[in-house]
Symmetry: C2
Subunit: 339 residues, 2 copies
Amino acid sequence: MKRPTISDIAERAGVSTGLVSYALNGSGRVAESTRAKILAVADEMGWRPSAAARGLAVAKAQAIGLVLARSASTLGVEPFFMKFIAGLEGELSTRRVALLLQVVEDHEAALEAVRAWWAEQRIDGVIVTDLWTTDARVSALETLRVPAVLVGPPRPDSGLPAVWSDDAAAITETIEYLVGLGHRRIARVAGHSVFEHTRVRTAAFQAAARRHGLPYAPVLDTDYTVEAGAKATEELLSVSQALRPTAIVYDNDVMALSGIATARRLEVPVPQQLSIVAGDDSQLCEMVFPPLTALSRDIQDYGAASARTLLALIEGTGPGSVQSATAHLVVRGSTAAAA
Amino acid sequence: MKRPTISDIAERAGVSTGLVSYALNGSGRVAESTRAKILAVADEMGWRPSAAARGLAVAKAQAIGLVLARSASTLGVEPFFMKFIAGLEGELSTRRVALLLQVVEDHEAALEAVRAWWAEQRIDGVIVTDLWTTDARVSALETLRVPAVLVGPPRPDSGLPAVWSDDAAAITETIEYLVGLGHRRIARVAGHSVFEHTRVRTAAFQAAARRHGLPYAPVLDTDYTVEAGAKATEELLSVSQALRPTAIVYDNDVMALSGIATARRLEVPVPQQLSIVAGDDSQLCEMVFPPLTALSRDIQDYGAASARTLLALIEGTGPGSVQSATAHLVVRGSTAAAA
DNA sequence: CTGAAAGCGCTTACAG
DNA sequence: CTGAAAGCGCTTACAG
């Protein structure tokens, strides 16, 4: 019951192992009839080239790595990642490249994981998410010479290609929308301030607030946990109605969810006295009452674009950064005209 | 800038490549002083054995596979999986075995993925989740002779080891608790009925209902989507108060969440007129108001146990099925005495 | 259009 | 305690 090898196929088809290899890997070298016979035999015996042997010969792992540096509990409730992963794989599996996944606590551990994978030649490249404004990983990756794509805005300090989405534009659209509804007191509950995407969105928020001359536009930083999100909301709402924001924009769907719950606990009616916008969209947004108005975009497509870019980088066609679709506002029940 | 190979290390340390290999892989063959020198050189040059070369020599991939057969959107909002994955990896990374992940639509595609990985010798074994009561994957895996562990109750029809948790006991505890609060009309919103774990829980629910002589104990099947969960809740609540259940037990946290929202939309106060219990616990449960009473257990530990069992199976120590901790009820604000 | 052979970087009996 | 060599299963110039 041993797995068949290329020699078994060659023998059975009456050719050399070299020919079997050529037949499988394209290249017009092989006569069509010979190829057909080889393929038939291979198929019949259920043969597929050993990834190890092939990898050794061509010095490629046919795999890429994704290491997520977040606590498991935060990751779990964040729908973004599974969708992103599904998007990656849609692209990878058709090209027979595998995805190695690791979940770690911090950047140090993340780098260590990539370093190990790379040294062991388990991966040909890596996808980097959740970039910090100052992120030790990017220069480390560059000195290791690991092909890498950065998921987030392109960085002036690096030649690595980025796959990104215009978060600033999405935030601007959100503020325009709220101002259009008559809101003048708008707060932002932001993600972790070390993340570059947080910084970009905060800057866009503040610029929009200035442009519209909003009298009150506070930004509260959190670490994406439930507690931090709830605490921020509580802080914003635990004052007299005149001093409260009439709208809060959250950096993701999870915190917006807890925003709804906190408002309910404090008996601030949504959307009558408070409008809420979620910075990400997922099924979660339709699981609360009222359902959340949210910034929506195709995360799977974002993952697919990231995979394509990395594959191109690995193949040596130096791809530039690619901009993915901008999120657009999906209006549901959590927003209304300002009281 | 080429990556160093074992020959580079051997040369630099003044020994044969064979010795380098022995030095690294234990086995008391090597003199302590020689080993120390070899390790020092390897470390200095940043050398790690190529996974491909090593894999080819020992006929092991040093990797296991996990293929999740669910839609990306359902997966994303389900905190279980990321926690489970984090648990798997805690165990894997210390032993230098990698995790290959794939997300597919159905069992057919899942099997195809495993078959490909196995034929290419990319994995040494596989973890199977979300088992169906009648599941084509288990016999297919057995005929392929892929080492596999089943995450779910052991199956009479298979010799594969299972890692499981006593769902029946957890459900029983839940019903005892609700009955203790005076509830007599208790409904269950179940997951997909093809899943064996759904069947087990439903059976336990019905047995407990019978034991307590409950006059009303309907079970509604869903497919785990938001819509189905909301629809089931709506069906249960859209009748006069006398005919409604006073408590609903959901199969996971996500549907319980949407249960809270639906109750709110229909103006059924929770927990005053309706108690709600979530079948899984995660941060989501504390993100709603009132926070959800939930069946809680250590999912990371569950993942770790699964990894350990698979690793043991691969190494040939025929591990039996292992029972992981039983979930226990964490009481929060969504349950109260029956009206 | 096809074959024979070297080489990828490890591991592991086999000798000494 | 250590070395020399075969072998794992592919790919790919090199000949013909």
